[in-house]
């Protein structure tokens, strides 16, 4: 359940920025979450519902940009979508791959009032 720590981190970042802008409430939050960021979305949902109570995000609309993970094969340079770290290159079948996107975990923007 590290998702609770993650949600608490999101709330802190959002409230800090909202307060700095003299806002009273956060109406919308936009998050970038890579499919291989290590976040389980069900756990995140559970933690979110509980953690935002009484915060500036209480009535906030959450927008999640899910970023599909991609890797690049170090042998043949093919770039491809991956679901697991152990996926092989679809062209040459090698496991010598580097992840190029999909590890994102970021607060992108806020809409405050």
């Amino acid at each position: 359940m590290h998702e609770l720590s993650i949600v608490m981190g999101i709330i802190k970042i959002a409230e800090d920025h909202a307060r700095a802008a003299d806002a009273a409430a956060i109406d919308e939050i936009e998050l970038d979450i890579g499919t291989m960021s290590g976040i389980d979305m069900d756990s995140m949902e559970f933690a979110w519902t509980q953690a935002i109570k009484g915060t500036m995000l209480n009535d906030c609309v959450r927008k999640i940009n899910s970023i599909t993970a991609k890797a690049k094969c170090l042998d043949c340079d093919t770039e491809f979508e991956i679901k697991n770290y152990y996926d092989a290159c679809p062209v040459c079948g090698e496991h010598l791959i580097d992840i190029v996107q999909g590890k994102e975990l970021m607060v992108r923007s806020l809409l405050v009032s």
Binding site: I6, D22, S113
Partner: protein, 271 residues
Amino acid sequence: MCATCGCSSDGKTTYYLVDKDQPHSHDHSHPHDHVHPHDHGHTHDHPHASEKKIIDVEQDVLHQNNLLAERNRGYFDAKNILALNLVSSPGSGKTSLLERTLKDLKGELEFAVIEGDQQTNNDADRIFATGTKVTQINTGKGCHLDAHMILHAMQGLKPKDNSVLFIENVGNLVCPAMFDLGEKERVVIISVTEGDDKPLKYPDMFHSSTLCIINKTDLLPYVPFDIEKAKANAKKVNHHLDIIEVSCTTGDGLPLWYNWLKSKVMQPEAV
């Protein structure tokens, strides 16, 4: 509030520096309350209260942890301390590996240990028995150590210059993967009593580690663990991973681990 990092310690995480005279004394407690009885009057007008505004945040959620981790890393670098984050599921033999290492390399290298568990000082007591400086972190309900806890544990521990600092994380192959502590290397430990598909089942941890130690190899004749398959699985997840097979009971393979360790210890450069 903690003056060092601004944290509002809620007392859930506790730190014990194991000491001869006071074996379970609390270190770094925050007993004081923060009462803010004053009202925040808002006599000024908010003419734009209903106006909506977009704020571009673009901040990594782990930003705060990562900043503190870099701060720890700076401290380690300045003192030439080799910090290792040991991660595994519960029962793989992290503490046994440390006990054995601390005894075998006594006199060759200087060590300090941070132990992370939800409850008890049992592991710290075992480490202390080897004559090594140790701080126990009890996370309460927490499932992982974070950079902030390490910062506080260090305040009591004060590891020596040119030493090796072992940080034994909470036994958990999932959550600790996301939290940089400021370590130089992350070492994942599995034992042959687990499944050889463990690297595939918990890939984040194997992907973020630099060394994998396969422990309890003396039990191989009695268990269905296929060590070659386990190594292939680990390499599939992370092709950079070094793998060392050891048995803390018989001592098999330990020289390889000790050589790896010594190769990572930087000799202080003469100026």
